[in-house]
Symmetry: C2
């Protein structure tokens, strides 16, 4: 019972007062790291990110766990000095890759270089406050599930579609962790247009769409948005590549429905900005692929690009309430 979700169900009966202190939340990416103070009573869906900053992620190959933690400690003290009126009571950290939340370990990140790095232990010792550690998209999913687009739903797939695709799956009101290996839907197989098996994100991520269009036309486009604009203008190659992306995404959504009973699909990330050009054909294609199964609802993510920060703050805040909101050994 280590996931945040198990416990956040209890939040309404255990309101967290704002004098419990604020959370300093970090969202560490392959290029940049975001940091901000998350204030407000997260249990009742009001929250605010103060003094949001973006810094370069200090990478140093296999030593990147150390360099990233050192930078987090440095920024913690800078925020404490800059905001003496805010008591930083806990820290939330999200990273990409394979994350063992229960033991607080970054198992593996191809982009950032670490293997089995003990983030929670390192940061807790250095900072002296509780540290919540999680996967970036899983924490964004927690935020959408608890405070955002999927509030009140039980069987939810949160798909974040940007350069790649990652997911957070919830079943029966719990996030599926799979020891850190769940949710890697971007690397799930789909049948490609030529019948070969490829990974979902090669066809359906914003990065994949732009790359495939560029390869098909021998030109470079700025991104998936430009492919969509050309498709709207009638460019047949753009229309085809967009449709193939939707087909691939529909295939994976249909897998979630068949295997998990997914009933709500939250779409976030850059590609979700396509709006009805994505949502309408996706729902139609999923419907074609299903038979007796429930048809899911499709909703856009509502918390924007700070969902990861908010989710990690939510998890950090749950640490502050001790065993009440967090049973089990996430720390």
């Amino acid at each position: 019972m280590n996931s945040l979700t198990h416990n956040s169900q209890m939040m309404p009966s255990v309101p967290v007062s704002s004098d419990a202190g604020v959370v300093l939340a970090f969202d560490v990416g392959g290029t940049d790291m975001k940091v901000g103070l998350v204030v407000g009573d997260l249990g009742v869906a009001s929250h605010e990110v103060l003094d949001l900053q973006r810094h370069r992620t200090p990478l140093d190959g296999a030593r990147s766990g150390d360099t990233v933690c050192a930078r987090i400690v440095e920024l913690f003290h800078e925020y404490a000095q800059a905001h003496p009126q805010q008591k930083i009571a806990a820290v939330g950290v999200t990273v990409p890759g394979i994350v063992d939340e229960i033991n607080g370990v970054g198992i593996y990140s191809a982009n950032l270089g670490w293997q089995n790095y003990p983030f929670t232990a390192t940061l807790t010792a250095a900072l002296g406050v509780p540290v919540a550690f999680g996967h970036d998209v899983a924490m964004a999913g927690e935020a959408e599930f608890n405070l955002g687009a999927a509030t009140g739903k039980s069987d939810v797939a949160v798909l974040v579609i940007g350069t790649g695709i990652a997911g957070a799956f919830f079943a029966d009101g719990h996030r599926i962790q799979g020891a850190g290996y769940a949710g890697e839907v971007g690397h799930a197989l789909v049948p490609g247009p030529d019948g070969k098996l490829v990974i979902l994100e090669s066809l359906a991520s914003a990065g994949g769409i732009a790359r495939r269009y560029g390869e098909a036309c021998g030109t470079v486009v700025g991104g998936a948005r430009q492919v969509l604009e050309r498709a709207r203008a009638g460019d047949v190659t753009a229309v085809r590549i967009w449709a193939e992306a939707v087909d691939a995404l529909a295939f994976s959504v249909a897998q979630c429905v068949a295997m998990l009973g997914t009933n709500t699909v939250v779409l976030g990330g850059g590609l979700s900005m396509a709006g009805s050009d994505l949502f309408v054909p996706l729902a139609r294609r999923v419907d074609e692929l299903l038979t007796f199964q429930r048809r899911p609802d499709y909703v856009p993510a509502s918390l924007g690009e700070n969902a990861g920060l908010i989710g990690s703050a939510l998890k950090a805040r749950s640490l502050l309430t001790g065993g009440t909101l967090l049973t089990g050994g996430t720390l």
Copy 2:
């Protein structure tokens, strides 16, 4: 927190004494219904099915919920009379189709005819003992997960491969319910040999294998076992159809791994009797389909064809310990 699994984790600390009474368990199928007394301390993996009987399932179209319940009540009284020394303290019932365990409702069964039939309420009123109601393969999965092949594992897919294919998925030590819609892996899509999308069980079930071989050769074979024997003897059509079944199954296992972090695959049902002819090429093909993901272990189901009875008895037994083993509203 309504699933059995959430609570069975606690079983070792709450041993169920045998004087708590026995469970009369029913496994209702499309043709036959099995019934037997399940005795023994299920919490420590000892159990025995006494006076196992098989009866015709009394079907009557849309009224089949009523006729099946009436037959269950009849058999309950027969067992009570025939075994006066055994106190039947609870009843477990499993059915196929879409099952809402939490509300005790058979939502839908194509083969048995009911829609939204209130099994738990009907039987509890008629029998005066607690009734545990569940999906047949889900309960078989619970038995394998708690007492059988997957004991001690957290992230498990139990695949029962017979005439069709159904699954029970466990993540983080909990069975995924999805309001009764989870686990329908037999109806999940896979790319077929000709590139078209088909449902898994059309290629990889014992029924599908026999049918496809018959269509390819213009002959009728007794079953998948015969196709396997012909493949072993070098029949190229049988070899191809067996390999396509393994490929399809591997595709679905790889989906589970990517999405759920599945780490243990339990294979049950008739097709699992193929042994290394199934397990070895399946593991090899899944390995080819994965990249950074954990490779699952493959284990044969260990409880045999009574797994469903045992699982439903396990769930019924958990009702007897009241709130201790079963929190939430499964009744």
